[in-house]
Point group: D4
Chain length 164, copies 8
């Protein structure tokens, strides 16, 4: 745990299914990470502390997911100059539409790198691409990952005649 | 200024026109108030300090307005148990639709009393109605205000034949 | 029942599941309340009578929930100067989006303190925060409630490793 | 004025431009009508009185226009069994989208016959079509009106070569 | 069948559940009606013929329901000067939002009296209110219906303690 | 005019600016076309006649533009088996959002080839691409058009340093 | 396979149920077609190659379906001057609303003929109508198809009394 | 120009005003960058070439802005494993709502780091934060920038009394 590169925060433990994709990707790329439940509203001090101290601990990227009036990513971004990736978690009634607007429409000065609704896998890949800027091994792995993904699409296309 | 009852916060001084209505109402009801520019993202520490210390200073109600990914009211509500009134300020592109969802769709546990887009006059009246719960003079004034408002509508109706 | 502090109105008894959270909170804080089915459209006279007479009976806060063209909170607010909290109840087709706009976009002069879609728990907490302005015991309970809520988030975070 | 057939109500005198079309049509068809400013929120008693007494006075159709959380048509419909036509008036920020949902999404039991945003001309025509059900002269005029409208479209088409 | 007063058209027989409410109401008020499947797109000639011939047959009101790009009510309104009531039927993906806009946003000159999404019961009541303009018996029944509806709400309110 | 290949219809002559782009493209490709004002609602018979007779006259493609509850393209498609291209014309209040849904969400069986809001230039190009399927000269011109378009983008890119 | 007239591409094999309607129609009209999985993002080279080479192989129409940020149809249209029909596939959270806007709102110069959400049957019919422009047999079949469709609606109408 | 770190692409030179903020920030932080007009639809080969060759040239971050069916950022992301930042440029009719959904709702595997509508300043800051992960001088400048930004908010708050 000494060299955690990414921290993942979510507003509630009910967000685990929507967020797990980020962990899956980071594990696949052997990127050490930590995961926390921290709410911008219910435990703001913890959330801010995690953000403020991240850079000093060697963390490079913060990933945050929340639903509804999703303030978590923005609040974390206000307390660190590390890149913050925001995942709008699908909400019960408005299906993540509220989460998306609350995450992406940040005011000038404090960006949140927003992915799609429940887009945790892409959040993980975006974090890897940032880390890969100064890690050639990771950059090479990322290229392999892409090729592998293309191959799988090809296999599906070849198999299409069986399910069409 | 010793007995400030309401504090008004806005994310940017460009929000003044959208927020002035709250001040107008409070002045009309002789409710002492303070106004601050404080951003959930650019000056989060100031915003939180204002919220955390408000109750100790005798403040009763917090009014907050912001646009876009409007986190200000929610962030303030996370740092005080006083009632927080949120004003979704009209945004340039999405016309306050993003501001509204970011303000109102708060998670269970931390409410924001949300008014309409650019609804600062109503935010002021809502604050007055809360203060009036323990101030009979204010309650009486509020009833007069309503009667006066109805009279004005009546005048407009009487005058309608001239502009129809 | 002599000292009812909050009245809860809903447009239909099918709204009970969406509204029960307000009752849960009020019970938890020992705030006496009443609950009624009253429709702005089907029983407007009853709705208005409840609103008009509330203050005289010592009621301090009105909570109203309705779905679709949700006029109930606005109609009640037109007949009392007490603070009215509006709960946009999720509708079948538009998922509460219509309810939200119908509740929150009130004209200048008659505010409704709107919470999120199906946000009855927050409506209850908002009512408590208003009552707490003149009740130190309630104010203290509200602070405890917040601390307790933060502890629960902490427990969930500590337990996250088991469900991640 | 003794035999007013239609009453037109609007929430504010600023709605006159959006509402005038209804008056134009009624005048063109020689249908006697009255016009009032009456707000569901600011002068609810007047609004309800107008609705409740309409049928007794020989009124046949009620037309109501309002913007934002547009409750006027619904509130009137709650106080009369005459057909009520609702005009969602374009609102400043959400462009009548809120007005439309607030007007049309009425609960089962209390219908509002809703026309398009700022659709006052169509509200007038709809009222005429209802009155024409028991007035053959009016029905004949309505058919002429349609033919005349078609002729004007034809003229425009013929003239198209000049403006294309 | 000689004295059919209302015709109900729907774009597809899959719309029956969404449309049945109109029939229920008309039966309850003993208003004779007919029902047809007729598509603005798949059987336009039939749809137009039904509209064009309606008035000559003594029909007074046309009710039409369709989903998606819901053109049926508008197309019928183009072929009759009788009042046309449009029911936006809930669509699979956009939940009737497309149906609503396609039904209500008619151009000046050709109104459609639009009710809420899947609002067939209200369409029936609206038709009854139009017929009642020249039928005192029906007008009296409509008033009874309202009182009865209010009583049912009262019963539900009285019973609320058992389900709260 | 003997060999008109495309007919362009619009609901109102106020749509000319939004529709002119289709004419510009057709002229640029030397495709003979006709233009008409014809409303699905105000002159339905003319609209249907134009659609029904088009194929017999040698017309290959129908282009139709309308705003709001934009039924024109769908109604034309119901009366011809030629390809119908629909242009959702920007509406005053909802900015073409209603026009888009009314045009594109057609029921199974009757397609409308929909382009973007006010997308008349693309409607023209789409018509050309359909005609080019059996006209090699036109197909060659269309390829040149694309290359020319790419060159213009390149020029703009080269010139970017002057306006950045 | 030598004379494939239509190629159908989809972004993922999970789109098969939403896309199958296009194949059904083409089979019904004996139009030879091919189907591929090709992603604008995961296998862009394959997608572009299929588009670029289509015309040379005798293909006449390209049908593409994708969901979310649905770029496939637009990307294909950028690499061919054949008509490209876009099917916005319903997405999990936003129900195809994102897919629709991503598909239809193309910039001037590169059109996509967009059908409704999950409108694959209509995409097939639109392709047939384009091919029929230079194939009289196909044009005749298309007319029969329409008549048959109308008959089925008539049958449903006749049967309505049994299910009403 | 030898050590360009960021490339900025936009779909049209009309996007310059919406995109200039990214250049301003990069200049303020002395980050060398290049700017191009390249369209995913009109010059797809150029766009892809710029993306494919970026990493080999030492580029670290790609910023792309487009409006409407905004495919540019996604198409670039499909051709590079560098982080791609997408700016949804405000569109004429739907105000960037279409651009936002087209940019952010990317499928699993190919992320785009999306900022708010017209959020080019934040795109620049996000790029800087990524570069700062391996450049301590830049990281220090970014912290200064934040402090400076907070000071300016403070000045505005102090000056608020003059403009309130």
């Amino acid at each position: 745990m000494a060299d955690v590169k990414v921290i993942i925060l979510m507003g509630s433990d009910s967000d685990v299914p929507a967020m797990r994709g980020a962990g899956n990707v980071l594990e696949q790329f052997d990127v050490p990470y930590e995961v926390h439940v921290a709410s911008a509203h219910r435990t703001p001090d913890k959330a801010m502390k995690l953000a403020s101290e991240a850079e000093g601990r060697g963390v490079k990227v913060v990933i945050a997911g929340a639903g509804g009036a999703a303030h978590l990513a923005g609040v974390l971004a206000a307390h660190t100059t590390l890149p913050v990736i925001g995942i709008p978690v699908a909400s019960k009634h408005l299906k993540g539409f509220d989460s998306l607007l609350s995450t992406v429409q940040m005011p000038p000065g404090i960006p949140v790198a927003t992915v799609g609704i429940d887009g945790s896998m892409n959040a993980g890949l975006l974090a890897v691409s940032m880390l890969a800027l100064s890690d050639e091994g990771l950059a090479a792995k990322l290229k392999d990952y892409r090729l592998n993904m293309a191959s799988k699409v090809e296999e599906k296309s070849a198999n299409l005649k069986n399910i069409w």
